[in-house]
Every structure is written in C-alpha cells, then in structure tokens.
Symmetry: none
Subunit: 225 residues, 2 copies
Amino acid sequence: MRILVIEDDEAAAGYLAKGLGESGYVVDRAATGPDGLAMAVTESYDLIIADRMLPGIDGLLVVEALRKKGDNTPVLFLSALGQVDERVRGLKAGGDDYLVKPYAFAELLARVEALIRRKSGRAEETVLKVADLEMDLLARRVTRAGTEIPLQPREFRLLEYLMRHAGQVVTRTMLLEHVWDYHFDPQTNVIDVHVSRLRQKIDKTFTSPLLHTVRGAGYCLRAPE
Amino acid sequence: MRILVIEDDEAAAGYLAKGLGESGYVVDRAATGPDGLAMAVTESYDLIIADRMLPGIDGLLVVEALRKKGDNTPVLFLSALGQVDERVRGLKAGGDDYLVKPYAFAELLARVEALIRRKSGRAEETVLKVADLEMDLLARRVTRAGTEIPLQPREFRLLEYLMRHAGQVVTRTMLLEHVWDYHFDPQTNVIDVHVSRLRQKIDKTFTSPLLHTVRGAGYCLRAPE
DNA sequence: CCTCGATCACCAGGATGCGCATGGGGGCGA
DNA sequence: TCGCCCCCATGCGCATCCTGGTGATCGAGG
C-alpha cells in the first residue's frame, strides 16, 4: 500500500512518514503542491494525504487538478480548525475525508485504513451498536440514547472490546490481553477500576444497565430483553 | 445451513451438491456469474462456493460486486489456477478461502465448515443441550423451556459437567475431580448441597425431572423418554 | 411386613473472598 | 511546569460457598 504525503512542514511530514511506515505503508513525500501533483500523476498511489495550506497554493486545487485528469485516488485533507470550510466538508461524500489538526495518530490511522478499504470496495463496519448504545469508531464518539458520552482512551478500548463481544461473557484475562496488551496477571484491580468508571458513564444515568458482572467469570455487555 | 454453488460445469456442480447435501447442507446452484450474483443478493446464504472460471466472467467480479453491496457472506473460490499471485488476487477481492482443483472432498468440507463457523461469530460448540435444557457457554446463560435460569459459578460448572456427560452416571469422585478440583475426599456433603440447589433451579418448577440420583453410584442427567 | 442401617435431601448460620468505590501518587504529553 | 489520565491500594458490603445438623428415603434382612 503506497501513500503520498503532500506537506510543507518538514517535522509534520516526518512524523507522518514514520508512523505510517511503522504500520506497513510505503510513504512518498512532496513538499509543494506542484511537486505533489506531478508525483500523483506519474506514480500510482492508494491514498494521498494533503495539507490544506501549501506554499502558494491551496491543497484543494491540487486535488481538483487530479480529478480533472480522471484520477480518483482518495484524498485525506489535513487542515487547521479555521480552514475547514464547506468545500472540504463536502468532499467526504466523494470518497475523501478530512482531519482537523491537531489529531490523534490513532484516529488518522483509522481513517487512512477506512479510505483505503473503501476504495478497494470493501464494506466497512464503522459503527458498533448494542441496544441504544452506539460507538462510532472513526469519529471516536460514543452515544447512548442520543446523548454523547465522553470516554478516556482506555475506557474507549474497553467498551469497544465489550461491544465486539456483546452477549458473550468476557473474562478478565481476555480484557488484559486485548485491552491492556498484558500477557500476565498484573495482580491488581486495574480492570475493576476501569469497568467501574465505564459503568458510571454508560449505565449510571440510565434505567436499564447494559454492563453486567458475571461473578467468578467476568463481564458481559448485553441488551435487555 | 444454506450454500450457493456457482459453477458452470454440470458434473462438478452435481458432485458438490451431492456431497454437501449428504453433510446436511441445503445447496442451491447457479450456472453463470450473473445468475449467481442475482441469487446471492435475493436470498440469504451462509456460504458461497464459486468457480473462478465462469462463462464470460471471472468469479472474482461476482464477489467484488457482492462486497460493494455490503454483503459479507464468506466465499470459497475453486480454481484450476494454482499460481500464488492468483490466490492472492482472489483473497484481495474479498474471497475468504481458495481451493485448487483437483481437491479432496474432505478438504473442501473442512474449509466449508471453518468458514461457516468463522462467520457465525466464532461460535463453535458453545451450546450444550439436554431435552429442553440449554446452556450457552459463551454467554454463560442457562435456559429451560425458554426461561432463563440464573446459576452461581459452582452450579454452572456442575451443570456443565453433567451436561457433557448426559446419559452417563457421574460418580461423586468424578465431580470432586472436575468440578471442585479436589483430588481427595473432603468428607463433607458439599456435593449433595450443590446438587440439591441445582435441582431446585432446573427441576423444581418443571414437570419431568432431568437430574436423577443413582443410589450408591452417583447422579445422572438424562432426558425423559 | 416390619425394622434397622445407610444414604441422601434440605435448612440455616457463619466465614471467606470477590467485586465495587474512592482517593492519592506517578508518568507522560502539552 | 502544569494538567490529565492511568494505575494502585485500602476499606467496605454482600453474595457465595461451606459446615453441621436433622429429617426423609431407600434397601436388605429378619
């Protein structure tokens, strides 16, 4: 999988190249709009990541030129908060996406993978759902009955794992393996604490609890009958 | 379990249908790619077996079209093309497995079962059943005649062991070994107590008892005649 | 048929251990 | 440096499990 990064800021470009490289992508870099456009048309990329603000040119123009040539490579825009206008928003429908700086790298990676998968015709599961509890993996948002619930990163991972195994009992060992990446018993009550906190957020203010403890076994996220 | 076979060769398709039918699957057949695609989208199958070489169309295209519609039914490709890159192309296009002709039917059956198991939530051997009593090992839920029965951890282990040995007489020593992990005689009536409790829960409110005591030998969980 | 011994079922009290909540400290990024 | 998030430790409450005792049931032999 090849990715073209068009970004004038050396540090930002390096950061991207390093992170994406570690995730198994081959990354080419261009520092200016014209350079990027030239590389995009001569080489074949699976994805282009472009800054909005490039020396002397708007990143949007690069993409417009590309599209005129019949190139449909998906583009992910990076832009500062003030630069997000309607034109950029609209691109989302056309197979492209945008991300506001500053961003968490994990989120960028999620979107990159989503775009590449979408392009290659794969259906993407981006929203998990259990009863009235919903999790948007791309936006990293969780809502219950329509109201948003802010979660910490670890809480998010925990809930994601529980939702992916909804209806099943999830043991502590499973959680340690997949949420904490521990492959041993930490001999503490880390899990209890986070489950407790998560419960406060997703169950406390609602009538029917979704997160049940199965004594002697683990936990189970289940929709009420 | 329903399987769709997309295969133009009449003999090969018949061979598949016969073999799979004997293994308990319901098999539908399509002779061309378009036919197969139409059947796949209108009906719901647990697995699709597709030939790579179809009249006028590559089986790959059928799968790609299916995936674009958001259909994730697992697909097993059959092909005379044994090259590695062909295999990779098949898997990339959204196929889930690849089998090269000629093949042993036992191998095909093994792969079919693996794919179906994978799709159905990795639920392999998770439900034990004796008469109208059911135990879901993943969800840790027990139901009799549809109504849920809450069990304590030890009661759960006890019932699980009994259900795994349904119809056999289970001695006290066996229970101590496998349910309590005792390798000696505790000289108490722990077992009696728990069997009693379990009986209350699974037999008390029902007409025909399932858990019988075999005097001088042990216990036996058995469905009524 | 009756008696007696052995086995089994059930009940209730008590101790253990599990799970939950809260507050404080340490590490990491801003 | 500051703030945030994560982890750890303590104490509490309660469910769960075991223990001992008593009554019921079964089987065999007189």
